[in-house]
């Protein structure tokens, strides 16, 4: 996210700041508390005090000036972390990654992450949050409250605000976790007034005058400063003021207009102009001036102006170390703006805003350019600014910034401009809110019909249409749209182009032109040596998916492993997580559950950073693995995490998947009642989207449950449905899902007694599965399938592969029979050392002859030992021996 560095710089005022030792001592005394609150209206010297203290204190410190732009959780956190990182560059990195995810995790997760990472900092530091009253978003207050409830050890925050924030301050006061400086503390005492005025006016101030001024201004330092400025010019005090009974703001306004009128006209003019700006620099001031100079006057040199303001200490605040950026004190600016509105026409003000907007836009400060254009009432310019910068920002993968610009734009304009609508679509895509796309796309197309829009935007529309079609399984339309998109989107817009290339390849695969897709991707990979890491990982990812869908497992692995390596090198966990998922999925499909488990677990360490669908499917797979591995507690635990996670997304699709997983697990446990309950009540959302390669597909689980139920009606329903799915996926060239569907169908036929059809279907499935070594879909349906598979062996079909399937069945059976417990159980009659040696070799599946050679004993001796081993373990064969030994903890479970 683009950071305005000026928000992070400690504002420095001029040299004539009165030192207030008692307040500095107070800060010193309480600095080790989690929170110091400084709460008073504008102009009481709050920021000055904090800044002064920081200058003299020994601790590392950071400053963050808040404003309306930081009034949302994402922006606030971005700047907060940037402030912390300005002292400790490596802090809060995991929380920072959350800021790049499609959606922010729920607040408890976010705040815990932040608090934990802040807690890792082992050095005391001060963080000042200035102008906290600009924060209105409740979530930000909530985050802050959490922070204060569990304050990190070495984080000390100074909160400067004009109004007490809605945090549980009483609670903090009671627990003595905070100190505060309030109006009464900040008021100048008489001695301070005297000292202040003496310093500024360089002459003695008598007690009476000091007393009068203290009373007049109510100890408000800004009033005093204004008084001093006025007095400097006059040479003396206007005693009229001291006598009147008007209130402070009269003094303020009176003095202020005096000071203004004392300035040379050119400067006065300039001050009024500059008052429209939140921050200014010399070139910007220049841009605001009339191009030909104010009627006959000498053109003001902006640098001179800044110098004058600094010399006179006219409320100017330096924003950076390079002396480029400044701003006025808020109050001074308010007063100037009032004057501007009173003495200048609306047209003049509009012109000023327009010029400011143009300058900011030309210099790359897009958000401010937009704000000023809108203040000038020039919505067209604002829209154009977004339009011009949209591509560049998306190219840099900074969708959040685009989203920020959109929040500044008024709703009506957003609905009318193709540029802004397209921006909204990209933002929705980034948030994975796919369901929200169609209505906006329609709106865009309606406008596109009426007006001429540029080719690139047409290309983007084509891309989104193609993307939506792909997800609906409309391969031909998808390919056509995406092909057009590639013709229309320019090379420079590499983000949109990259996405279009990826989805075009996927669409080609969907319509059966896989070779063309693969070749295209490989060509692009070869050509993009210098591309950014993320583009290459996307291309490789597409390759990986295409091969996976085609059940070309080894090729898929090659692509994904390469992608993972690059993603990990560039530290793009999001891309890495896709690669991890596919690798885990492949292990799962090959029934290499021990390898799949750690990969899925790794993805789920950070479910909020990865693609939501990946997280959900990983939960499902992991739960299944635990259940299969006879660890029902862990399975339930994982299921619970999944249900919570899915519920919290609020997405009905994901919630449906989580419930499907629950039913699936029940089935695996043998709890048919639960599963049937789900079947009858489940709202399976006529899920028209494609099944891809997901492990948990509710529509298929429904068929699983029907088949498990086994009634005539259920079986027929299941088979009719699966038949339909088979054709759908065949049409989509989705081989991976077809295997599972065919395997299920075979089981269904068998239960119906239609053995020949069962075997034929199974044979077909095996044909598809063998090249990739995909075994899991055959194990899943259980013993019915084992029986069918054995019959295939008799028919001499793919004996090697079928043999592997049967081995997997046996292993699973053994695991079920001999579940690994966590407590090692010693045998009544323990194995001898020699017997252990032999058992270890048996575990490696060594033959008797080989064992004999290895141990320098005769095969008969081996046989004798083996028999003893079986007897002691109470088993009948080598496989059982190994399984039971592992279960008892005699052998390590590898």
């Amino acid at each position: 996210m683009e950071i305005l560095r000026t928000k992070l710089n400690r504002p420095r005022s001029g040299e004539d700041i009165l030192s207030r030792p008692h307040l500095l001592k107070f800060l010193e005394k309480h600095h080790n508390l989690p929170l110091i609150l400084i709460s008073a209206p504008a102009g009481y010297g709050k920021s000055t005090l904090a800044s002064q203290w920081l200058e003299g204190c020994n601790f590392p410190s950071a400053w963050l000036s808040l404003d309306q732009s930081t009034d949302d959780l994402h922006t606030f956190l971005t700047y907060f972390i940037a402030a912390v990182q300005s002292i400790f560059p490596n802090a809060c990195q995991k929380t920072n990654v959350f800021l790049k995810a499609a959606n922010l995790p729920p607040l408890p997760v976010l705040s815990m992450s932040l608090i934990n990472e802040l807690d890792e900092i082992d050095q005391d530091f001060i963080l000042v949050l200035d102008d906290y009253h600009h924060i209105h978003e409740q979530v930000v207050h909530d985050l802050f409250s959490e922070l204060l409830r569990n304050p990190p050890r070495h984080t000390h925050i100074i909160l400067i605000t004009r109004r007490d924030p809605p945090l549980s301050l009483n609670n903090l006061r009671a627990r003595q976790k905070m100190a505060e400086i309030r109006i009464q503390d900040l008021r100048f005492a008489q001695e301070e007034t005297a000292a202040f005025l003496e310093h500024l006016l360089e002459k003695r101030i008598d007690q009476a005058t000091a007393a009068a001024w203290t009373e007049r201004t109510e100890g408000w330092v800004t009033g005093l400063r204004l008084a001093a400025l006025s007095m400097r010019h006059r040479g003396d005090i206007d005693s009229l003021i001291l006598e009147a009974h008007d209130s402070v703001q009269y003094v303020t306004e009176y003095l202020f207009s005096e000071i203004l009128s004392q300035q040379p006209s050119a400067i006065r003019q300039c001050l009024l102009n500059v008052s429209i700006l939140d921050r200014f620099c010399a070139p910007l001031i220049e841009a605001l001036l009339e191009p030909d100079g104010e009627q006959g006057e000498e053109k003001l040199n902006p640098w001179d102006l800044i110098e004058v303001l600094q010399e006179q200490n006219m409320f100017i605040i330096r924003l950076d170390a390079k002396n480029q950026w400044f701003r006025f004190h808020h109050l001074f600016r308010d007063l100037l703006q009032n004057q501007l509105e009173r003495h200048r026409s609306r047209e003049v003000v509009v012109k000023l805003h327009s010029r400011a907007s143009v300058w900011f836009a030309e210099n790359g400060w897009v958000e401010e350019a937009i704000r000023h254009a809108l203040k000038a009432g020039d919505t067209l310019s604002a829209t154009q600014i977004v339009g011009r910068n949209r591509q560049a920002i998306l190219n840099e993968d900074k969708c959040h910034i685009l989203e920020k610009w959109l929040t500044v734009m008024p709703e009506e304009i957003k609905q009318e401009s193709v540029d802004l609508l397209l921006a909204q679509v990209w933002v929705l895509l980034h948030h994975l809110a796919i369901y929200a796309l169609p209505p906006i796309l329609e709106k865009i197309e309606k406008i596109a019909d009426r007006e001429t829009i540029d080719i690139s935007s047409r290309g983007e529309i084509d891309f989104f249409r193609g993307y939506a079609c792909y997800l609906q399984g409309q391969g031909l339309q998808s390919e056509e749209y995406l092909r057009k998109a590639l013709e229309r989107i320019p090379e420079t817009y590499y983000l949109a182009r990259g996405q279009a290339i990826v989805y075009h390849a996927l669409a080609l695969q969907m319509i059966g032109r896989k070779e063309m897709a693969v070749q295209g991707l490989n060509d692009k990979l070869r050509a993009s040596r210098s591309s950014k890491g993320i583009t290459i990982t996307r291309l490789l990812g597409a390759l990986g998916f295409i091969h996976l869908l085609d059940c070309n497992i080894s090729q898929s692995l090659v692509a994904m492993q390469r992608a993972q390596e690059i993603a990990s090198r560039h530290d793009i966990f999001y891309a890495e997580s896709w690669a991890l998922y596919v690798e885990a999925l492949i292990h799962f499909l090959r029934n290499e559950l021990d390898d799949a488990l750690p990969d899925f677990s790794r993805i789920l360490e950070n479910p909020y950073i990865v693609h939501t669908a990946v997280a959900v499917d990983s939960f499902c797979a992991l739960a299944q693995i635990y259940q299969i591995r006879q660890q029902p507690d862990k399975a339930q635990e994982t299921l619970k995490l999944l249900l919570d996670f899915a519920a919290q997304t609020g997405d009905p699709g994901f919630i449906a998947i989580s419930l499907s997983c629950q039913a699936h697990l029940s089935m695996l446990r043998g709890d048919m009642a639960q599963a049937l309950l789900w079947l009858r009540s489940a709202d399976l959302i006529p899920d028209a989207s494609i099944m891809l390669f997901w492990v948990e597909v509710p529509r298929i689980t429904k068929c699983r449950v029907l088949i498990a139920d086994g009634s005539d009606a259920s079986l027929q329903e299941a088979l009719d449905t699966l038949h339909k799915y088979k054709h759908e996926n065949k049409a989509l060239h989705n081989t991976i899902q077809q295997i599972g569907i065919l395997a299920l169908m075979a089981t269904g036929y068998k239960k119906q007694g239609r053995i020949d059809e069962a075997l034929a279907t199974l044979g077909h499935a095996i044909e598809l599965a063998e090249p990739g070594g995909v075994i899991r879909p055959f194990i899943e349906p259980g013993p019915e399938m084992a029986d069918l598979v054995k019959r295939l062996i008799k028919k001499n079909v793919a004996t090697n592969f079928v043999g592997q399937i049967l081995t997997a069945f046996r292993e699973e059976h053994l695991r079920a029979a001999y579940p690994v417990s966590s407590i090692a159980q010693p045998l009544v009659d323990p194995l001898t050392k020699r017997e252990m040696e032999i058992l270890n070799l048996l575990a490696k599946r060594e033959r008797r002859k080989k064992i004999a050679e290895t141990l320098f004993i005769s095969p008969e001796t081996v046989k004798r030992h083996t028999t003893n081993i079986y007897q002691k373990l109470g088993v009948n064969n080598q496989e059982e021996a190994v399984a039971k030994a592992k279960a008892l903890g005699i052998l390590s479970p590898q």
Binding site: P41, S247, V248, Q249, Y250
Partner: protein, 87 residues
């Protein structure tokens, strides 16, 4: 949670006439910046003077704005009262 439609009362968006009393003086010229409220100041002899602002505010947001402005003008609030509301 009780349904609110049974109650007779105002909502955040209900316009209403408010009277705000603050300590201090305020000139009628401030009316523009304070939601057009009528401003009357009164001196109270030895005690601090008091200003009464009266006017129709279109909603709670406008009221909040006025109260905030009075705070920024350093005028302590003595009383805030709703006089009349739109039906």
């Amino acid at each position: 949670m009780q349904e609110t439609f049974n109650w007779k009362g105002i909502k955040l968006e209900t316009p209403a006439t408010y009277r705000i009393v603050v300590q201090g003086c305020l000139d009628q010229s401030w009316s523009d910046r304070l939601a057009g409220m009528a401003i009357v100041s009164q001196s109270k002899g030895k005690d601090a003077p008091v200003t009464t602002l009266t006017g129709r505010l279109r909603d709670q947001a406008e009221l909040s704005g006025v109260l905030n402005s009075l705070y920024e003008l350093h005028l302590p609030i003595l009383k805030v009262e709703m006089l009349e509301r739109d039906e």
